[in-house]
């Protein structure tokens, strides 16, 4: 009996100690150029408009390729990173994934985290993409992901509220600050900035500093371009927006909305908060909760009416194929359908922004679908001297540093100099660790 117990114990502990670590061996399924009968999982995040359009596109795929069944997995952005990260850690991720730009840094720092799409060119047509657009998804010469659309954050306003107050959409930073007074008299706010998952408060503040100083906050290879003084300038500008009544302070915002996303909050839907800073590719969810045509794209702010630099663009999202997929050809074919198929493009419209694929963009243009807020905002961005967002800027830990500083300044727990010094130290140390 003792021998049996000892044997079981020995086997158990050997299994534990050898299995606790992650799997390091890679068993890539090589492409064979054939489309076999199979079932694939495809995951994405987004709002209702994107969900509806994508489910329709999958229906179309099923009529073309009934032998390749697609199982959709979708939800809102909040908590989505955590979900996919845990799936990837456990090797249970979907075959095709809509991924965020910064995931390339966290999930595939050496380019081996996702399938190399260069190997799948028999099914995936990459000729519809510009080289620089494709380069967003390249790491160490491996094409980990393909950019769905390139977007930037733009300002969108509730035109009904602005019209009622006789206010014009601001064109300069000074005009934005001046709007605070006009709106305050009515108990309203011309804009909303948050420290939730979007982190728009810090985003707008660094656009302001980038425009004034000509510096980039973080370079593409993860070098911090701002000094502590630059960070302090950004925090001062944020504080000025609060004190002039342009935005709600953090306490008022939290009291009114709780933990609810802005587009679901009564303050935004009811018009108390009449503006939002949002990616062109995601503005649909804000548009959907207001009467048709109410939300309108506003001009990108400048310091003097001329200097329009500092605004940022990035791949709004990318498609990647899991390195663990058993069906790389089929996954690539489905990805090609999503990116390049003209009928699919017509169904998806601008639910993921203006497509980066020329084929899809042409289809939208021919069908008169290249309209709407995403298009307006992106067209305006094209006229500007934009900066590409560094993937390091959007890392969750970095967002935590920004939000901590903004929160401390908003609650008057410390002055902007102290908050800037703390953020500078935290950001510098963290970038050194992850680069």
């Amino acid at each position: 009996m003792k021998k049996i117990v000892s044997l079981i114990t020995a086997i158990f502990f050997t299994a534990v100690l050898s299995a606790c670590g992650k799997k390091t061996s890679e068993n890539l399924t090589k492409p064979d150029g054939q489309l076999d009968k199979c079932t694939l999982r495809f995951s994405w995040w987004g709002g209702d408009d994107r969900h509806k359009a994508t489910l329709e596109a999958i229906k179309l795929w099923n009529t073309i390729h009934p032998e390749i069944k697609i199982i959709p997995e979708y939800g809102g952005w909040d908590g989505w990173t955590e979900k996919v990260t845990s799936q990837i850690s456990g090797g249970t991720e979907p075959d095709i994934m809509q991924i965020n730009y910064d995931w390339l840094v966290t999930l595939s720092p050496d380019g081996s985290g996702f399938y190399d799409l260069n190997e799948l060119d028999s099914q995936l047509d990459l000729s519809c993409f510009d080289k620089d657009v494709l380069s967003f998804g390249e790491i160490n010469g491996r094409l980990n992901a393909v950019t769905v659309s390139v977007t930037g954050r733009g300002l969108f306003y509730n035109s009904a509220v602005y019209d009622r107050l006789g206010a014009e959409f601001p064109t300069t930073w000074d005009e934005l600050i001046a709007l605070g007074d006009t709106f305050r008299q009515e108990g309203l706010y011309p804009l909303d900035l948050d420290i939730q998952s979007g982190g728009t408060a810090w985003y707008l503040a660094i656009v302001y500093v980038q425009q004034l100083t000509g510096k980039n906050f973080i370079s593409m290879d993860g070098e911090l371009g701002f000094t502590a003084d630059d960070i302090c300038m950004a925090l001062d500008f944020y504080k000025e927006m609060e004190s002039s009544g342009v935005i709600r302070n953090i306490q008022t915002r939290t009291d009114e909305d709780g933990n609810t996303a802005l587009y679901q909050s009564p303050e935004f839907i009811g018009g108390k908060v009449a503006g939002v800073l949002e990616w062109g590719s995601s503005v649909g969810k804000y548009e959907a909760v207001l009467p048709d045509g109410t939300l309108k794209a506003g001009p990108f702010l400048t310091s003097d009416g001329e200097n329009s630099s500092g605004w940022m663009i990035k791949p709004s999202m990318l498609y990647a194929v899991s390195k663990n997929t058993k069906y790389p050809d089929e996954a690539a074919a489905f990805m090609d359908f999503l990116l390049n198929n003209e009928d699919c493009a017509r169904i998806l419209g601008t639910s993921r922004g203006i497509p980066a694929s020329h084929s899809a963009e042409k289809s939208l243009e021919q069908n008169g679908l290249l309209t709407g807020l995403a298009h307006e905002s992106d067209s305006m961005l094209e006229q500007l001297d934009t900066v590409t967002v560094s993937p390091y800027m959007e890392l969750p830990q970095m967002k935590d540093f920004y939000n901590t500083a903004i929160e401390k300044v908003s609650y008057d727990l410390c002055d902007t100099e102290t908050a800037a010094e703390e953020m500078y130290d935290s950001v510098t140390k963290y970038l050194d660790k992850v680069k």
Partner: protein, 297 residues
Amino acid sequence: MKKRQYTNPTGVSKYTGLLLISPFIAGFLLFTLYPFICSFVLGMTNSRTVGETEFIGFENYRTMFRSGSFRRALEVTLKYAAILVPLKLIVSLLTAVLLNLEIRGIGFFRTAFYIPSILGSNLAVVIMWQYLFTAKGLINQFLEFLGASPVSWYGDPDAALYIIVLLRLWEFGSTMIIFLAALRDIPRELYDAAKVDGCGSIRSFFSITLPQIKGVIFINLILQTISALQEFNAPYMITGGGPLKSTYTVGMLIYDEMFKYGEIGYANAVSWILFAVITLAVSVMYLVTGRMERDKT
């Protein structure tokens, strides 16, 4: 029809007992002991979501004790447990005493009081809590009706923790049911005899009820303390840990480190410290109550 023959099960084989309990043993080894040991091993590594894993000894623990965010999360968790557990025990016990009364329709009230505890902290409850506690929520409307100043529930770092406490307090049904079962086991004769001796209700409560259910009070104390120290759902869904991390518990820290920042090794190390804190708290409770028993004898 032939009558079925039964043999003495102990005579079949000396391994039959082991065979019968093997499903439980297998489940325990696979789903409890295995992850438990894995977690400890991972806590001694620098494991991240991607990349090579190296053994780094107690480095994660050293980092943790130097970390301001860990200390802050631990403070919040201990404060939360210290406020919630006594409150919940008192409210549950008093409600159980009321529901132990033999009056018409008491079954309805027992069910009604139990319902909140099966709701948990799901999305519907989160929305309801927002209707109650946001700036223009029902609670503040009621306070204004009474002439009191509205409270900044979500935005004030000192008040936000109480939103979570109130949610968990509202879900006192399970604790109350355990108290109620214990109360119904107390012999009626004790109360009758006390009444004959001129003992009032309050004296009966302290001299008969409490001593008779002290074992159950202890069990509820242990269960609620463990549950409070592990709190994650409610702050995650209702406040997101804010404002100013005033509702950011150790459970949320583990979640963020593991799934948001991909620091698997560090997250496992924090889990082990949380386990140690819970073990310490329960041990202290056992020691204190054991000493009380000895003092009594």
